[in-house]
């Protein structure tokens, strides 16, 4: 350990000091958007799960409306925006991210409130959900801007390798078509060297994030969701840039020091949990209440999923030399959209590897693709692998759909079950 490192003695703290830098990184992202408008640079809206790297490679400034929707929720604007969208005719049951974005646009909200600017074009994909495509269709029509959508075939539990290969070809062809689309809309040329550099940055960013997750296997866990829920944003807004890599490396370094000193994010760690689903962005403090039972969330598939390079077929060499083909492969094997059989297997492995005592499953009332299969997932985890699970009903961005007291009571009972199991 260097003298400098020695001087920064790791301390118990619920949040890493390095994570404070997230505000600056995200601030720079929003500034970059403003700068792009001032400079007349092309901009694009992109849905999560779409190849944002390709936008950076073509010198197009990305904007992720889902990220903005979480800002609205954190600033307590989301309910108001959602209700504005409902007044426009969009159902109470539709995606709360979508409705937050509709309301924010209708209100002409600023970026600090979760607003977004009119883009040069929109990029959507149904890799995560159909809603993404419908959402951007609604907004592309409103703004009268071009919209390119990537259709991703749905992989199910009995999809064969033969099918997988032509699924991949279908995506690859669309990605090349998307390059043509961007060239036409922006006048920018596709530059292979740029693409390689962006891909390398994206790879490095993801790998550091995965390293951080590896540290979460340690007992006590050095990092809580106070670092990861917000910490994930650079993964989908800035894959391809160097700045967030530095932030993640700082987070890793600090966490590693904690591990070396045997210091956890909690002073006392009795229960290690997994949280499946999107957090309640309007009430992140809610998760802090787990600490009253010395319980800590040590793994979230949602925040891990966006460090997309997990498919062993996608090597760094492939990412650098065949970025489009690598992207096609990744879009088919995204953690967050695994078929049920793979999902069960991955959960079982994760529970074992991260020494997890119990799983909290968020039945997200306006994200049906995520909650579909959750009942079967729970049953398999409980019956086949004896893993305790609790399903909680809420919503990612709509505070009307979280019953705080009732949910907390459920969690308390769940923790009690975990406590009893530890005794026996």
């Amino acid at each position: 350990m260097s003298a400098k490192e020695k001087s920064i003695k790791p301390q118990h703290n619920k949040m890493l000091n390095a994570t404070q830098g997230l505000k600056n990184i995200m601030g720079r992202h929003f500034l970059a958007i403003e700068q792009a408008y001032r400079d007349g640079k092309p901009t694009a809206w992109a849905t999560s799960g779409s190849p944002v790297e390709m936008l950076y490679a073509m010198d197009v400034q990305p904007m992720l409306p889902e990220n903005s929707a979480t800002v609205s929720a954190a600033q307590k604007y989301s309910q108001n925006f959602i209700e504005l969208a409902e007044a426009e005719g969009f159902s109470y049951d539709l995606c709360s991210y979508f409705k937050t974005n509709v309301g924010a646009v209708l209100s002409n909200a600023g970026m600090a409130e979760g607003g977004t600017r009119k883009p040069s074009f929109m990029l959507s994909t149904d890799v995560i959900c159909d809603t993404h495509v419908n959402w951007f269709q609604v907004q592309a029509e409103r703004f009268n801007v071009p919209h390119y959508s990537i259709d991703v075939p749905h992989v199910v539990s009995n999809t064969t390798n033969r099918q997988y290969n032509y699924f991949k070809n279908y995506i690859t062809e669309q990605l090349y078509e998307f390059i043509d689309f961007m060239q036409e809309v922006t006048g920018h040329e596709y530059n292979e060297e740029n693409a390689r550099q962006v891909s390398e940055n994206s790879w490095n960013l993801s790998k550091v994030w995965q390293d951080i997750y590896e540290l979460r296997k340690c007992i006590p866990c050095p990092i809580s969701t106070r670092d990861t829920f917000g910490g994930l944003f650079p993964l989908f807004t800035m894959p391809g840039l160097k700045e967030p890599i530095k932030l993640y490396k700082r987070m890793y370094k600090e966490a590693k020091m904690r591990v070396d000193e045997g210091i956890g994010a909690l002073e006392k760690e009795d229960f290690r949990l997994m949280f499946e689903g999107i957090p309640f962005w309007y009430n992140l403090k809610y998760f802090g209440q787990l600490e009253r039972w010395n319980a800590i969330i040590v793994y979230e598939p949602y925040t891990y999923a966006f460090s997309k390079y997990m498919n062993p077929k996608v090597t760094k060499e492939m990412v650098l030399n065949k970025p489009i083909e690598a992207m096609s492969e990744l879009m088919l094997s995204f953690w967050y959209v695994y078929d049920l059989e793979t999902r069960i297997k991955k959960f079982e492995e994760t529970v074992k590897d991260w020494s997890i005592d119990g799983v909290l499953l968020h039945n997200n009332l306006s994200c049906r693709p995520n909650s579909c299969g959750m009942y079967d997932l729970k049953r398999h985890l409980m019956d086949d692998y004896d893993i305790p699970c609790l399903i909680i009903d809420a919503d990612m961005n709509d505070p009307r759909k979280l019953n705080e007291t009732q949910t907390l009571n459920q969690i308390e009972s769940f923790i009690e079950i975990l406590r009893q199991r530890k005794k026996t």
């Binding site: 426009e88 269709q137 075939p153 199910v156 009995n158 279908y170 693709p369």
Partner: protein, 345 residues
């Protein structure tokens, strides 16, 4: 005769391939008198009630002649729930067809690959051969059915055939052996040619759109309130027969082209083009109103509704949007809204 069950939120499944394999294509319909119980152990109650209804039936046991299931890429529900069907059912043939969301050349090429895979898996599972000749015969038969349905549909325009009867007829065709279906259609057409006007001119001609409504009783309800469903753009309706499959091309390519170019449904991209289909039908059939019915939690239709509302307002055609729960007891709650709309137009 053995059947292949079709779990499809639209009409994206190529029946011709199933027929050429020697099976009866049997589209699964909901049963609005049934409430999901077992299905609720697999799918949350805030998800599409229609697909939960189908799963409930599937868990209880489907038609005993069904030897396999094909589910076609439609909405997020049919896509994600296929794995649950794999969990709950034990058929040796279970296939998820990735009917593409887009409708361009790249999607067309991909769809051909997936149709070939569907054909190959049928062949491998049942040890049969699906030849081009057999496919061509199936295409011809289906085209004949489509032509007859299109002709019969026009008797709705002549106020000779009720919308509810036509709806029930399309449902039969989607479940019966096609030779039987042909016979039924030919007989009915002959009768219709000799029939006179049966429906009162006071009935209000409307265009019915929305989720793929499969309960004929709902249309009977609309008729009891003074509406005549003169035209629709539903899967249990015109989407099933509006176009034909080319008989002069490679059969798999012709089937792919047929599905990619037929009138668009809300599950495809860009779904807003569905409005163009609706506008065309509304003008051609001179409807006095449009009724858009969404099954509860039917996201594709819920997303399109505000756009359709705006466009029909611009067009000056009265438009009613209704969200319904899939059980007959709830229909009575819709009475008021339908009646108010009838008054308005």
């Amino acid at each position: 005769m053995k059947k292949i069950g079709i779990f499809d939120s639209g009409v994206e499944t190529p029946e011709e391939i199933i027929m050429a394999a020697g099976f009866v294509p049997f589209r699964l319909f909901g049963d609005p008198t049934l409430q999901p119980e077992k299905a609720n152990e697999h799918i949350p109650p805030t998800h599409c009630i229609w697909t939960r209804n189908l799963l409930e039936q599937a868990i209880a046991g489907l038609d005993e002649d069904i030897v396999g299931i094909v589910s076609s890429h439609g909405c997020d529900r049919t896509n994600r729930e296929f794995d649950i069907w794999l969990e709950c059912l034990n058929y040796k043939f279970m296939f998820f067809l990735n009917s593409p969301r887009k409708r361009d050349d790249v999607a067309f090429k991909f769809f051909i690959d997936d149709l070939i895979e569907f054909k190959n898996q049928l062949q491998d599972t049942f040890n049969i051969e699906i030849t081009d000749e057999k496919l061509k015969v199936s295409i011809q038969k289906m085209n004949k059915i489509r032509k007859l349905l299109k002709e019969i549909s026009e008797y709705r325009t002549k106020y000779i055939l009720k919308g509810s009867e036509f709806h029930a007829l399309v449902k039969k065709v989607q479940q019966y052996p096609k030779d039987d279906a042909l016979h039924i259609l030919e007989t009915r057409l002959k009768e219709l040619k000799e029939s006179r006007v049966l429906i009162s001119n006071d009935m209000k001609p409307i265009l019915l759109t929305g989720s793929d409504i499969d309960d004929t009783e709902l249309i009977v309800l609309l008729e009891s309130l003074g509406f005549h469903v003169i035209i629709d753009d539903l899967g249990v309706g015109t989407k099933y027969f509006w176009n034909s499959v080319s008989e002069n091309e490679n059969p798999i390519e012709a089937i792919a082209k047929y599905h990619i170019t037929k009138p668009i449904y809300s599950t495809k991209f860009p779904s807003y083009e569905r409005y163009n289909v609706l506008e065309f039908l509304a003008k051609k059939y001179q409807v006095v109103g449009v009724i858009n019915i969404a099954q509860k939690f039917c996201e594709p239709v819920l997303y399109d509704h505000p756009y359709l509302h705006k466009k029909f307002k611009e067009l000056g055609i009265p438009y009613l949007f209704v969200e319904m729960t899939y059980n007959r007891e709830s229909y009575s709650q819709l009475n008021t809204r339908f009646s108010a709309f009838a008054e308005m137009i």
